[in-house]
């Protein structure tokens, strides 16, 4: 999740136990407690403002995901774009209700750069980058089948 450029200070009173948990969480991610609370508030706001959106720890950092699915929002958008923006076709592809795919689209509209960055990151892991991460990787080029 990217941080917004401008900010304002809001002080808040937390129970001691919560403050300790916040510090532990911040330490885990290498954030300051202030950073951690700002991120949690932002995630909480997005969860309450956008249907079907959840946040999850992934090896690539915390990502916006679709509830009851293993997919991050950027993965759903990659499918939608593959269908040239046809939400109904993407929903059929996934076997999901259309409203769930629409929720991902709305989230992506609101946080476009975040989603585009994640998709670009995925695409940047080409064969060369993949071999660097997983040295056993080999390439297989199937004979070109006829396009559907």
């Amino acid at each position: 999740m990217t941080k917004t450029a401008s900010s304002m200070v809001i002080s808040m009173r937390l129970p001691t136990a919560s403050a300790k948990r916040l510090r532990r969480l911040a330490n885990r991610y290498g954030w300051t407690p202030s950073d951690a609370s700002a991120r949690l508030v932002e995630e909480g706001l997005r969860r309450s403002e956008f249907a079907f959106i959840d946040f999850r720890d992934t090896p690539a950092g915390r990502q916006a995901c679709i509830q009851a699915s293993s997919l991050a929002v950027w993965e759903v958008i990659q499918i939608v774009r593959s269908y040239k923006g046809d939400v109904a076709a993407a929903a059929k592809h996934l076997g999901w209700a259309q409203v769930k795919v629409q929720a991902a689209v709305h989230y992506a509209e609101a946080f476009l750069s975040e989603i585009n960055e994640a998709i670009a990151d995925n695409q940047a892991t080409d064969l060369v980058a993949l071999k660097q991460l997983l040295p056993q990787t080999v390439e297989f080029l199937p004979k070109k089948p006829a396009r559907s």
């Binding site: 090896p59 993965e75 040239k84 996934l94 993949l130 997983l134 199937p142």
Partner: protein, 122 residues
């Protein structure tokens, strides 16, 4: 022997299409695998169960999956094999193209031992 587990971003219809083409192929979409219990689970959990049951994951995810497996490789933990599909050559919407590519790959490499293999399907 190759057993294909299609990650959630791949249309479950791809599994049906592969079965129609080649009756002996062992393939499952994540939504049907293990009664759908792994839908919504973290990728590490899916990969762990796939490794235990010797299933090879087919995925378009080149962000979370390789980063997870990099750590496993360094720790000498085995996985069930992964097939990374290149979305530039086989876009997710082109399910017929993916069915053909996987079917062809299965014909050539279906009898291989897939533990710890990583394949770029371009």
């Amino acid at each position: 022997m190759l057993k294909l587990l299609l990650n959630e971003e791949i249309a479950p219809g791809v599994a049906d299409g592969l079965r129609r083409r080649e009756g002996t192929i062992i393939v499952a979409a994540l939504a049907e695998w293990e009664g759908g219990n792994f839908v919504g689970k973290e990728i590490a959990e899916i990969l762990r169960e796939a490794a235990d049951q010797e299933w090879t994951l087919v995925t378009y995810d080149r962000q979370k999956v390789p980063l997870t497996l990099k750590g496993w490789t360094e720790e000498e933990c085995l996985h069930g094999g992964v097939i990374f599909v290149d979305e530039k050559n086989i876009p997710p919407a082109e399910t017929a193209m993916l069915i053909s590519a996987l079917n062809w790959m299965h014909q050539l490499m279906g009898s291989w031992e897939w533990t710890n293999r990583a394949l770029w399907l371009g």
